[in-house]
């Protein structure tokens, strides 16, 4: 695992935000690693543990708990569709099905611990997530870092076309 100098500097800077306990930097360090590598590998867990002076299990238990950390690479473009009530009422399940149809993704093998499904070409991956705090413009999804609101089975092709 190669940590570029710029990333290493950002990690060191993030650690300074926690003068009382280095362990507090587990989440920010993992975020920076995931941003760069797209997922948290076993090596990344070991590296983080060594960096912060922790047992690797202390890092791994964090990675496995939080849905925001992935242990496998997603597609080049990762989509998170809101599944919760306001979005579901506004059609997010239909939107999910349409996304899968358009991007050629088979979600039939997903489960609680493996929520992400990828398209065959590896371009897109998708998962259902819980309320994204944008219920007034439901249904919504996050494509990478960007929120897309008021999705319909008609307009989501335009959303995908941007990526």
């Amino acid at each position: 695992m190669e940590i570029p100098a710029e990333l290493a500097a950002r990690i060191d800077e993030a650690i300074t935000h926690y003068p009382v306990s280095k362990r507090s930097a587990v989440l920010p360090v993992l975020h920076l690693l995931q941003e760069h590598f797209r997922f948290i590998s076993e090596e990344a867990v070991a590296w983080t543990a060594a960096k912060l002076g922790l047992e690797p299990i202390k890092v791994l238990e964090v990675v496995t708990f939080y849905p925001g950390f992935r242990q496998e690479a997603p597609g080049k473009v990762h989509i998170r569709v809101c599944r919760t009530l306001a979005c579901a009422m506004a059609g997010s399940y239909e939107v999910m099905n349409k996304f899968c149809e358009v991007a050629n993704i088979d979600r039939s093998h997903t489960s609680h611990h493996h929520p992400i499904a990828k398209s065959d070409d590896g371009k897109f991956s998708i998962e259902f997530v819980e309320c994204l705090a944008s219920c007034g413009s439901a249904p919504v999804c996050l494509v990478e870092d960007d929120l897309h609101e008021r999705l319909t089975t008609e307009n989501l092709g335009d959303v995908l076309a941007k990526y």
């Binding site: 935000h17 926690y18 003068p19 009382v20 306990s21 362990r23 507090s24 930097a25 587990v26 989440l27 920010p28 993992l30 975020h31 912060l52 202390k58 238990e61 964090v62 708990f65 939080y66 849905p67 925001g68 950390f69 998170r80 599944r83 919760t84 009530l85 306001a86 579901a88 009422m89 609680h112 997530v129 819980e130 309320c131 994204l132 705090a133 944008s134 219920c135 007034g136 413009s137 439901a138 996050l142 870092d145």
Partner: protein, 463 residues
């Protein structure tokens, strides 16, 4: 102050009282500190650092401000819980996890008016003497995290944060800390564990009340984004004057987040208790969808108990209210058997199946239980399984009663209030819509095992 114009189509409704959302959708407004300062930002911080700490806390107490994160606890009283003999450092945490389904207000404050929050945090930090503050932002707000980091850096460059702020001798740093997609990080002790770099397993209260034993076992004040923004306005108006907004014991303004089956879902900032549920639906939100009638409302985030359209609520003072008459405040909403919670109002019309709705919510709580307590860890998935079966038409009428019983076995038996959050929706939906939910079940399935996993398990026992 300059008059405020809003973007076309985004004008506030005449019934609104824009204070916290004054700059949301404002023409000519941006996130920069220059724009904010030209509008009077940081004047209240300048005032605060010349005041006695206790005087600020007294103003917040006098304002009657109640927390906007969910529990509605008086903010000034919470600040007063820091032990007077304390010698440890005090921390301030702003809860920007905004994860209660139906709630979407903190998002707009951070995206559109970051300096209001920075100023509110800095004033509050000064009042409780916290030199180290964290802003815990949910991971799904990546842009908000960047905007807040930039705003904090700008404020620091101008001397509003950092060492010896405004010559007061008080040091104050704020750092953004990002969550990682878990609802339980909104619960304040789960949040603290998360900030310590661990799984967000909530701590048991007592003894772990954050104001006494919080972050790093030091006194810690946790407040919601909107609550901390109000502090600035309380200082501006004075506590007593602020308390004239809203209604007695339910003071100030609050942002209602309306979603579901209305013409114009969205955010509406109103004086607390000054508009009724009927006015929210018919005036602010432009009414129900054409040809539809009201069926149910979840009034304060998905964890609040559901209100049924034809219910009557008898209050202690003798008044009898319909669902349309309920003022949007803390106390009446509680007297009607639900809660104002986080301000997330979810409207459901007669096109909605209540079995389907409760199944959707059961799945949320199944996914989000942290797994520490047996009743919650086991009960939440069972509720989801049973309601899955009901929705699929594979349930017997007894299953509906069993669904309620599972919820009863969670409520009050867990470490944190997630137990109630998970069971109240189920209990209230089943109790209020039992006949409807039973109508999608089949009597000839009574006593039969339809679940494939259960069949396998039972076969093993018999063998």
């Amino acid at each position: 102050m300059a008059s405020v114009e809003y973007l076309p189509g985004k004008q506030p409704h005449a019934r609104e009282h824009r204070m916290i959302f004054r700059n949301v959708d404002r023409v000519g407004w941006d996130q920069s500190i220059e724009t904010a300062i030209a509008d009077g930002a940081y004047e209240m911080l300048k005032k605060a650092v010349t005041m006695e700490r206790q005087a600020i806390i007294n103003e917040v107490k006098a304002s009657g401000l109640r927390g906007r994160g969910g529990a509605g606890f008086p903010t000034g009283v919470k600040w007063g819980f820091i032990p007077p003999t304390n010698t440890k450092p005090v921390y301030l945490i702003c809860n920007a996890d905004e994860s209660e389904p139906g709630t979407f207000k903190d998002r707009y404050i951070m995206h559109q008016d970051p300096h209001q929050l920075v100023e509110g945090m800095a004033i509050s930090a000064f009042a409780v003497k916290a030199s180290l503050c964290y802003l815990y932002i949910r991971e799904e707000f990546p842009h908000a995290a960047k905007i807040m980091e930039k705003a904090i850096a700008e404020a620091r460059a101008k001397g509003f944060l950092g060492k010896n702020i405004l010559g007061s001798g008080f040091d104050c740093e704020i750092y953004v800390h990002r969550g990682a997609g878990a609802y339980i990080c909104g619960e304040e002790t789960g949040l603290i564990e998360s900030l310590e770099g661990k799984r967000p397993y909530p701590r048991i209260k007592p003894p772990y009340f954050p104001a006494a034993l919080g972050l790093y076992m030091s006194p810690t004040i946790v407040n919601n984004v909107e609550s901390l923004c109000h502090v600035k306005h309380i200082l501006q108006m004075g506590g007593a004057e602020y308390a004239k907004l809203g209604t007695p014991n339910n003071t100030g303004t609050r942002i209602l987040c309306v979603s579901g089956d209305v013409q114009k879902p969205g955010y509406y900032e109103v004086e607390v208790g000054k508009v009724t549920m009927g006015e929210v639906i018919n005036d602010l939100c432009g009414g129900l969808k054409p040809g539809r009638s009201l069926k149910a409302i979840i009034p304060g985030g998905s964890s609040a108990k559901v209100l049924k359209a034809d219910e009557k609520y008898k209050l202690k003072d003798g008044r009898e209210l319909t669902i349309w008459d309920i003022p949007m405040d803390f106390d009446t909403m509680a007297a009607c058997g639900s809660m104002a919670g986080s301000g997330g109002v979810m409207i459901m019309d007669d096109s909605r199946s209540m079995a389907w709705v409760i199944n959707n919510l059961n799945k949320f709580y199944q996914h989000e239980s942290c797994g520490q307590c047996t009743p919650c860890r086991e009960g939440s998935p069972w509720m989801a399984k049973i309601s899955d079966r009901i929705v699929a038409g594979n349930a017997s009428p007894d299953d509906v009663d069993m669904l309620e019983q599972v919820a009863n076995q969670i409520e009050g038996k867990t470490i944190c209030a997630f137990g109630e959050a998970a069971s109240w929706p189920t209990q209230s939906f089943v109790r209020k819509f039992r006949d409807e939910i039973k109508s999608v079940t089949k009597t000839d399935l009574s006593g039969k095992i339809v679940n494939e996993e259960t069949k396998l398990a039972v076969a093993g026992l018999k063998a």
